[in-house]
């Protein structure tokens, strides 16, 4: 099999997500590249959860409509998804009676282990169905808790059914991580020392991942009382010399907005991860949107420079968060990594070579003597950064100030310090031009322009429809030079993004006429086919 999709569905609490992860681990060992889209409502028990797993020999990070294997933990799953099934149905025969391959997974789980192990039974049955060798199944199960019981359960389910195909090894396994894990690792490579967050989907798993890491590693993780405290505490930590990051979604970021402005005027480095979900307000908490772009570009009162990076998959989340951390310490301006639920919570076969792109830029600590000026005016507006505890007296402030950090209301000083901060823009833009931060896929006189998670489906759709795909990875500063180069020879432009108003399209309009907007805002990711149809229908 070249490229296939497995959908695993059930009630919340039945373990569809865990089953998906286990299947991913098995297929990963055959060298398949994995992408798992997680779909779940905002509740703890009940409802309908599913994981849509795409396995392909080449890295593909989008979802298609057609399902090749439907794994049903309950009847609901069959009702909701069998329409898209063109392949095998594997179902829980303890709960459902229909045509297809039935396995009594609850009976098997209870007989050899515990009731909760029904997903292990489903895994065993699926492995046999697609012809996975028992040894590989054993290897995956050996890393689970209670491996003996789980293996007994899996073996019984494995023995119950016939194989319909025979998987062949097509490569080596990759790391399997989520976008949130990837960006955390990228930040760690750039020296992340302190993480602050208040729980909010879809950013919460960054907090979980790093809190877990903290138990053994020298990384500090704090959950303050609210998002306002989060950003203020993080700025305090950064002032004290620790590379700090915060994570949230749109609603939490709204509370942090005054802190963005504070970071800017006090020139305190900070990385802010904003993982978008469907808004406005509480919106649709566990579903996706890309509708906070204009918000993060303008959040915070006053005039100031900022960095806004927009990764489109796990590797870019790793690389751009790493870069954001390095750049916020270099330029002492706030850096925002704007991602969305379908990157944050999706699982990816992570390309190990991305690790080579990770860097650690050491900040210059020259001039940390007794006459230290926190806001010394320099050629490029970047002042030496020192921390309290040494010879220098370090005075950060939210007020307009002189070079020492003392409050000022003198007109000439106000102008001087505003200009000092804006001066950074010259070398910042040069750096963005050097980095590019515009990706292109394919060549054509017709181009899709896209960003964030929509790039994953847009990339595959572009390939099928014969369109060039241009992906924007930085909106502030906007990589104007690289974008114009990418647009050379392009006569028709379609912007693909996950919001109602065409927020990126408005920005793209400044550089080129937008002929078509392909927008999706039902909380779900684009299917490749949807984009192709829209392109061809235009």
């Amino acid at each position: 099999m070249e490229d296939f999709q497995v959908l695993i569905g059930g009630r919340a609490g039945q373990g569809s997500k865990a089953t998906g992860r286990l299947i991913a681990k098995v297929l990963n060992r055959y060298g398949y590249k994995i992408y798992i889209y997680e779909d779940y409502p905002s509740l703890i028990r009940g409802g309908h959860n599913f994981s849509l797993l795409r396995a392909s020999r080449e890295r593909k990070r989008s979802i298609k409509k057609k399902i090749d294997f439907l794994l049903a933990l309950n009847e609901d799953t069959i009702e909701k998804h069998s329409e898209k099934l063109d392949g095998e149905l594997l179902f829980n025969s303890d709960k459902v009676d229909c045509e297809g391959v039935g396995v009594p997974i609850e009976t098997i789980a209870k007989k050899h282990g515990e009731k909760i192990m029904q997903n292990t039974a489903l895994l065993g049955a699926f492995c046999k169905l697609v012809g996975v060798e028992k040894e590989i199944l054993k290897e995956v199960i050996s890393n689970m808790p209670k491996p003996e019981k789980n293996m007994a359960v899996a073996e019984e389910a494995y023995s119950k059914i016939e194989s319909k195909c025979n998987l062949e090894k097509c490569g080596d396994p990759d790391p399997l991580i989520t976008g949130n894990e990837a960006l955390s690792l990228g930040a760690l490579e750039a020296g992340l020392e302190n993480y602050f967050a208040y729980p909010m989907t879809p950013s919460t798993s960054i907090l979980h991942f790093l809190a877990d890491l903290k138990q053994d590693h020298n990384i500090q993780v704090m959950q303050p009382e609210n998002e306002i405290a989060v950003i203020n505490a993080a700025l305090g930590a950064a002032y004290a010399g620790k590379r700090s990051m915060v994570g949230t979604s749109g609603g939490g970021f709204a509370l942090m907005a005054e802190g963005v402005s504070l970071a800017a005027v006090s020139e305190t480095p900070i990385v802010i991860v904003e993982s978008q979900r469907a808004g406005p307000a509480s919106g649709v908490p566990t579903y996706n949107a890309q509708s906070d772009l204009k918000f993060v570009l303008s959040a915070g009162h006053g005039d100031f420079l900022r960095i806004v990076f927009t990764p489109g998959d796990a590797e870019e989340a790793f690389y751009l968060t790493n870069l954001a951390m390095n750049m916020t310490w270099k330029y002492q301006i706030p850096a925002i990594v704007l991602i969305d639920k379908d990157i944050s919570e999706s699982t990816f076969s992570f390309d190990r070579s991305t690790l080579e792109m990770a860097e650690y830029w050491e900040e210059s600590k020259n001039g940390c003597g007794p006459d230290y000026q926190r806001y010394q005016d320099t050629d490029f507006g970047i002042s030496p950064i020192c921390y309290p505890g040494g010879e220098a007296t370090v005075r950060a402030t939210s007020y307009e100030h002189d070079e020492y950090g003392t409050t000022t209301e003198i007109p000439e000083k106000i102008v001087k310090m505003q200009d000092k901060r804006m001066k950074k823009e010259t070398i910042l833009k040069e750096e963005i031009d050097r980095l590019g931060l515009i990706k292109t896929f394919g060549e054509s006189d017709k181009a899709i322009v896209t960003w964030g998670s929509s790039k994953m489906a847009a990339k595959e759709a572009g390939k099928k429809a014969g369109w060039k795909v241009i992906q924007i990875m930085s909106f502030a500063p906007f990589p104007e030079k690289a974008f114009r180069e990418a647009l050379e020879g392009v006569e028709r432009v379609a912007v693909v993004e996950g919001n109602r108003m065409g927020q990126a399209a408005d920005i793209v309009e400044r550089y080129v006429n937008v002929d078509q907007k392909i927008l999706k805002y039902d909380g779900r990711p684009f299917y490749e086919e949807e984009i192709v149809e829209e392109l061809e229908g235009s």
Binding site: L188, P224, P388, R395, S398
Partner: protein, 262 residues
């Protein structure tokens, strides 16, 4: 560099400024970091030449918590006002006390928004005539000591700007206390309250720690009552937030983490 002082003549902030400077002088100055919010109190930042983070209104406490967590070697003092930490940022005050962050919060208690030219705050007396309450403050005042006591603060004290020696000694004791310390400093506001405060008349110094701190805190309800106790109400050491937040020692190895994820 000398910064011109802009507090009103007779403002209690002069006393707090002097007491704080005297206390800081006795410490290793390079290891001191102070924060402030926004309000008349916060101008102290410009007058004390020490490591400082002049933050936003209501937020001196979370900045201080972040600094202390990042570098527990520093002695961190957060200067705040009643508008700052009893109105805008009260959640931060409560949670910092609850988590026993090892910082000292000095609350400049002048019982009105002074820098924005006289409005009522959480601790203004009921009936207080101000620009936002021309018919008198409709709300009952909040007892700041009771709030931090309920949140579990280990060190709770009250002083008065008219008692310089007491103020300096109380601040010093607060800074030395291991764990969260809260010092409420009563001050009159010469600009907006005239000489309406009679703290000189009403305050008295407690000789020792009260056996029932809460009862003593309730002795004055910020409205009426004859006697206002000054001194340390509670002093109790327990493990600090920073001690509880110990991390592991291993250096993060990203490749190792990636490999174990497969």
């Amino acid at each position: 560099m000398k910064t011109p002082n802009t507090w009103c003549p007779g403002c209690g902030n002069f006393s707090i400024d002097m007491a704080a400077k005297n206390v800081i002088e006795k410490m290793d100055k390079s290891k001191v970091a102070i924060t402030a919010g926004i309000g008349c109190h916060a101008k102290i930042i410009d007058y004390v030449n020490v490591n400082s983070f002049y933050g936003l209104h209501g937020r001196p406490v979370p900045v201080a918590v972040g600094i202390k967590l990042a570098n527990p070697e520093l002695d961190v003092l957060a200067f705040s006002g009643d508008g700052d930490s009893l109105n805008e940022g009260i959640s931060h005050l409560i949670h910092a006390a609850k988590r026993n962050s090892d910082i000292t919060v000095v609350l400049h208690q002048n019982r009105n928004f002074a820098l924005t030219v006289k409005q009522f705050t959480a601790s203004s007396p009921k009936g207080f005539i101000s620009n936002s309450s021309p018919d008198g403050n409709p709300e009952e005042p909040l007892n700041a000591l009771e709030v931090v006591h309920a949140a579990g603060a280990g060190f709770i004290a009250r002083s008065f700007t008219g008692e310089m020696k007491h103020l300096e000694e109380t601040l010093e004791e607060a800074v030395k206390h291991k764990g969260f310390s809260f010092v409420e400093v009563l001050q009159s506001c010469p600009a907006w309250q005239g000489n309406g405060e009679d703290y000189h008349e009403k305050t008295y110094k407690m000789r020792k720690l009260p056996r029932n701190p809460l009862k003593r805190m309730k002795e004055w309800n910020y409205d009426n009552g004859e006697r206002i106790p000054l001194g340390v109400f509670k002093k109790e050491e327990k493990s600090t937030f920073e001690e509880e937040m110990k991390t592991g020692k291993k250096k993060v190895n990203v490749l190792e983490i990636l490999n174990s994820s497969a």
